[in-house]
Every structure is written in structure tokens, then in C-alpha cells.
């Protein structure tokens, strides 16, 4: 069973008071819960948020399923998202995503055996002038080569 930490619960309750309508707190609450649940949203998480926020599960589920930044299944400790939209595709973004999968020995979207990495392809991340690029958890890494990207990933604890 998932429960928010005391700090997480306080933060969610503060978000409930922050906006004109309480439903606006659903996205912020999902972010807080996802951080505390190893990077993804399970049914337990929705259930718990529903109780804490006093918002029906169906409403929270609807929001959660609509947005790509909420993960619907477990991800690795580091979620590596390689942009493969047009400017990155024209600069080797797709080849980069394939290369990282091969080096890490993981299928796209799956978790590596050691639980450390998930490699996904992402739509445009607004880093088109510094292509190709990847986002690792919250951080952008730009102007990558196959080697520099692997070096960055190897350097992660």
C-alpha cells in the first residue's frame, strides 16, 4: 500500500488550498506522489490520493492517464528520454536512442535488469537547437554524441 510521507501529505494539502478549484491540485499532487513512488503512479497511489484529497478516483485517473509525464508502469532509477522529433531525428536522435538501448541492454520503454535505467523516446522537448538531446529524470543533456551520452549515463550512481 502506498502512503505519502508526512512532508508529501503536507505538500499535497497545501496544493489543495492554492488554486481556485481543488481539482487544479491533481497534477501537482500526482507529481509529489510519483516522486515518492519510485517514479510511477500505481492504482494504490490513485487510491491514496483520492482519500487524502477527497476527490473521486475517477477524476484523478482521468488526469493521470492524459499526461505523458506520469508513468503508468515502473521505470528505472534513471528515466532516459531521448527526443526523436524532427530536429533531433535530422541529427541522429533515433540512432542515439537505439544505441543507448543496445549499450544498456534494455528494450525501449522497459526497465534494465539492474533496475537502473529505462530508455524511452520522447516527443519534442524544446531543445531543438542543441540536438540530439536526452532528458534524464529532470535534467536535460544536449549536443550529444553516442559516446558522450553513454559517458553521462555511466557516471550516474
Amino acid at each position: 500500500m502506498f502512503t505519502l510521507s508526512p512532508e508529501g501529505k503536507t505538500a499535497v494539502l497545501a496544493e489543495l488550498k492554492r488554486y481556485e478549484v481543488i481539482e487544479s491540485a491533481i497534477i501537482p499532487a500526482l507529481y509529489i506522489a510519483q516522486k515518492e513512488n519510485k517514479g510511477w503512479i500505481s492504482k494504490d497511489v490513485i487510491h491514496h490520493l483520492s482519500e487524502v484529497m477527497k476527490i473521486p478516483e475517477s477524476k484523478i485517473t482521468e488526469v493521470f492517464q492524459f499526461y505523458t509525464m506520469f508513468n503508468q508502469k515502473p521505470v528505472g532509477q534513471y528515466h532516459v528520454q531521448v527526443c526523436t522529433n524532427i530536429s533531433c531525428a535530422a541529427n541522429g536522435g533515433r540512432e542515439l536512442a537505439n544505441h543507448l538501448c543496445k549499450e544498456i541492454r534494455v528494450q525501449l520503454g522497459e526497465v534494465s535488469k539492474d533496475g537502473k535505467f529505462t530508455v524511452s523516446r520522447a516527443e519534442c522537448l524544446g531543445s531543438c537547437g542543441t540536438a540530439p538531446m536526452m532528458q534524464v529524470n529532470d535534467r536535460y543533456y544536449e549536443n550529444l554524441t553516442a559516446e558522450s551520452a553513454m559517458n553521462i549515463l555511466r557516471g550516474l550512481k
Binding site: Y19, E20, A131
Partner: protein, 430 residues
């Protein structure tokens, strides 16, 4: 030559902090604004000819003028959900000059008599979010936000709302749905947000660059602003240059700037040995231009519309002769299929079919009739939906297939790309 009306101090690191921003004249325009009437500011913005910098290019002052003339509470929302492929200018503006946006928003709020605003920013923009949070705190601490700003008697609260990954939330009514805590699905217009927007209250949604541009307009006046740009495309604009180009990046130039000079001058031109093949001039939704068209285009609303394309968000995506147009279209059809919110049938089904057909061609299973089918499906997606995403998905297909028909014909006939060195793209699309 760049024309740095907005971006003059972006290279200075201190510009992102309140003290640094004020050192270069920051918040002086706000003081000036408070000596004017809201109506006078609205008239100045109208007279400046400023048009929305997010993509639609609608006249900003006219949009503000749609608000009801009463005391009903109204909201000012900043669209910072930058997601149009190829666009990264708002990110730069928020990272380098968050106070310019905040100052522009306070002046705009004063003009439209709004006391509450939100900056809706895409969730992936972790660093700009951090910069904005810090800037908002600085502004509150300096009493530039909150009640009785600078002793003017005017109150304005501004908060940041972080989205969670949905291209459609860049559409203004989709953004409003999202801010209300729902799925980010667009709403039918009319009623337009200016009449019935956020929480059914009158709402103005403007792009980051549009709101920031209010600062120089009020600082030096509409006439000074109109010295930049053309008659119908007044002022300067930040263009995001990307793709196969030697010096990608954001450049602020006069509207009406020759695209040839932009690509070969500021952008440094093509990689050695490569030739220009195509340019998408205004973000991925803008119809593609051939090299010949791009070299005679000027970067303004009217010229690009005359050429059958659009200025859009100002994202100039350059493709050289190493790129296969069938492959590039496959990237775009995948994107629009992924981002369709699904509420309108022509878009939900149409984006899926476009993507399937292009990918069957890429996998070597294309049939001769598929190209006509693509055009037929795309034609049927135009003007039939709540928002513009369906049209945005159809336009690249129509322009790619009609302007690069030989590449599509070759791929269907031979089961491989006409471009040498491009192989096995099918696997890259999955």
C-alpha cells in the same frame, strides 16, 4: 543583422535576477505604465500592431478588446507550454529574462484590469521552472507582485502552474481545461476565452514572447516599435533555428527578414558538401517550403501566408539533402497521432490513418494508391474539429506529398528511399 529589442541583455547572466534586470532598466516601464490609464495602454498595444507570437498571429490588442466592459473578474494566462516541434525560444526567454515576462504580465494585467494570472509552463522545462520560481519570489519580496504594487493601488497575483506533458495544452482552451484540473481537451469556440475562459470567467491567454514584447512597446511607444518589422508584421521576433544547419539557435530579427540571409548568414548555412532541400518555416504544423521557395521567402506573417505556409511559432527547421522526406513525414505523423486528444473523430482516426499509411510506405509495403489516399484523408481532416491540431496534422502531409512527390513515388515503387545512405528507417520509427 539581429535586432535585439527583447534579447539585448540575454547574454548577461545577472539579467535573470531582479537586481541585474533592474540594472538594465527593468521595471522602469512598469512605473511608466502606472502613470498611464489602462485604456491608453490597450490603445498603445493595438497601435503597435503586435500579433500573437505563439503561432496563431492574432492581433494582441484586438484580443484584449474582446473582454467585456464591466467589473467581472478576469484572468491573464501566460502560455509557456512551448511544444511545437522546432520551437525553443520561450525556454530561452524564461531562462534568461524571467523578469521581462513578469513585468510584461503586470503591465498587461493592469491594461485589462486583471488581478490574477498564471504562467502555465510545460512540465519538462525543469530549469526554466526553477528560474521562474525564484524570479516570482524576488518580485513578491520587492512588492512588484501582490497588493498595491509600487504604491499604485493596483493588485496582481501571479502563480506558476506546471503542466505534465501534452502538446494539446498549448492550445488556449486545452490549457484552460488543464489548469482547471481536467484532461487538457480543447473546448468549442465560441464562446472565446475572452468572454468565457478559465472557470467560465473572461480570460486572456497570451504567449511568453507576446507578453514580454509589451514592455518595449510601452517603454518607447507604438510608433518606435513599428520602426521594426513590416506594415502588417510589426516589430521583432525570436526565431528558433534548428535541423541541418551550422549555427542553430535563437535569433531575434526584424519581421520581414529574408529567409535566405537568415539561413546562410546568421545560421551559417549548410554543412560542407550538403545542399538545402526543404525548410519548415513556422514549427512542424507549418506547410513545408522547397529550397527554392525558402530562398525567396521573407519571415513575416503575410509573405509566408502568401506562399501557402505560415510564420507560426517562428521555428525554422532546416532539412538538407541527406534527409528523406518520406522518413521526415513519418516522424511528424507519429507525433500528431501521439498528441491527438481524441475527442474529435476526424482527428483521432485521421492522425492514426496518416501515420499507418506513411509507415507502411516506409516499411516497403506502400501501394500506388496510398499517396492519393493520404491526400484524401488529410483533406477530410481540415476544418472539421474543435481545435487546430487536426489541420496541423494534415498540412505537413499535404505539403510534403505534393512538393516532394518524386520521393514518395520512388519509395512506393522501389520500397526504399530515393536518398542515398538512408536505410531501414522503418525500424527507427518503432
Amino acid at each position: 543583422m539581429e535586432a535585439k529589442l527583447l534579447s539585448e541583455f540575454y547574454h548577461k547572466d545577472e539579467f535573470r535576477f531582479l537586481a541585474g534586470y533592474q540594472k538594465f532598466g527593468g521595471y522602469e516601464t512598469l512605473k511608466k505604465a502606472f502613470t498611464l490609464t489602462p485604456q491608453a495602454i490597450l490603445e498603445e498595444v493595438k497601435a503597435s500592431g503586435l500579433r500573437g507570437r505563439g503561432g496563431a498571429g492574432f492581433a494582441t490588442g484586438v484580443k484584449w478588446g474582446f473582454l467585456p466592459k464591466n467589473d467581472e473578474p478576469r484572468y491573464l494566462l501566460c502560455n509557456a507550454d512551448e511544444g511545437e516541434p522546432g520551437t525553443f525560444k520561450d525556454r530561452l526567454m524564461m531562462e534568461r529574462a524571467p523578469h521581462q515576462l513578469i513585468e510584461g504580465m503586470i503591465i498587461s494585467a493592469f491594461a485589462i484590469n486583471s488581478h490574477k494570472g498564471y504562467i502555465y509552463i510545460r512540465g519538462e522545462y525543469d530549469f526554466p521552472i526553477a528560474v521562474l520560481k525564484q524570479a516570482l519570489q524576488e518580485a513578491y519580496d520587492a512588492k512588484l507582485l501582490g497588493s498595491n504594487i509600487l504604491g499604485s493601488g493596483f493588485n496582481f497575483d501571479l502563480d506558476l502552474y506546471v503542466g505534465a506533458g501534452a502538446y494539446i495544452c498549448g492550445e488556449e482552451t486545452g490549457m484552460i481545461s488543464s489548469l482547471e484540473g481536467k484532461k487538457g481537451q480543447p473546448k468549442l469556440k465560441p464562446p472565446f476565452p475572452a468572454i468565457q475562459g478559465y472557470l467560465k470567467k473572461p480570460t486572456i491567454v497570451n504567449n511568453v514572447e507576446t507578453l514580454a514584447a509589451v514592455v518595449p512597446i510601452i517603454k518607447d511607444g507604438a510608433a518606435a516599435y513599428r520602426k521594426f518589422g513590416t506594415e502588417k508584421s510589426a516589430g521583432t521576433k525570436l526565431f528558433s533555428l534548428s535541423g541541418n544547419i551550422l549555427r542553430p539557435g535563437n535569433y531575434e530579427v526584424n519581421l520581414g527578414y529574408p529567409m535566405k540571409d537568415f539561413i546562410y548568414g546568421l545560421g551559417g548555412g549548410m554543412r560542407p558538401g550538403r545542399k538545402l532541400k526543404a525548410v519548415i518555416p513556422g514549427g512542424s504544423s507549418a506547410p513545408v517550403l522547397t529550397a527554392e521557395e525558402a530562398e525567396r521567402a521573407t519571415m513575416d506573417y503575410e509573405n509566408l501566408a502568401q506562399m501557402g505556409s505560415m510564420l507560426g511559432s517562428g521555428a525554422v527547421i532546416v532539412l538538407d539533402d541527406s534527409q528523406c522526406m518520406v522518413d521526415m513525414l513519418g516522424v511528424l505523423t507519429h507525433f500528431y497521432h501521439h498528441e491527438s486528444c481524441g475527442q474529435c473523430t476526424p482527428c483521432r482516426e485521421g492522425t492514426g490513418w496518416l501515420n499507418k499509411i506513411v509507415h507502411s510506405i516506409l516499411e516497403g509495403r506502400g501501394r500506388l494508391q496510398d499517396l492519393d489516399l493520404l491526400i484524401k484523408v488529410a483533406d477530410n481532416m481540415k476544418g472539421r474539429t474543435i481545435c487546430a491540431l487536426s489541420d496541423a496534422a494534415a498540412l505537413p502531409v499535404l505539403s510534403f506529398v505534393s512538393k516532394f512527390r518524386d520521393e514518395f513515388d520512388f519509395f512506393v515503387r522501389e520500397g526504399r528511399s530515393k536518398v542515398k545512405g538512408v536505410s531501414q528507417h522503418a525500424q527507427m520509427h518503432h
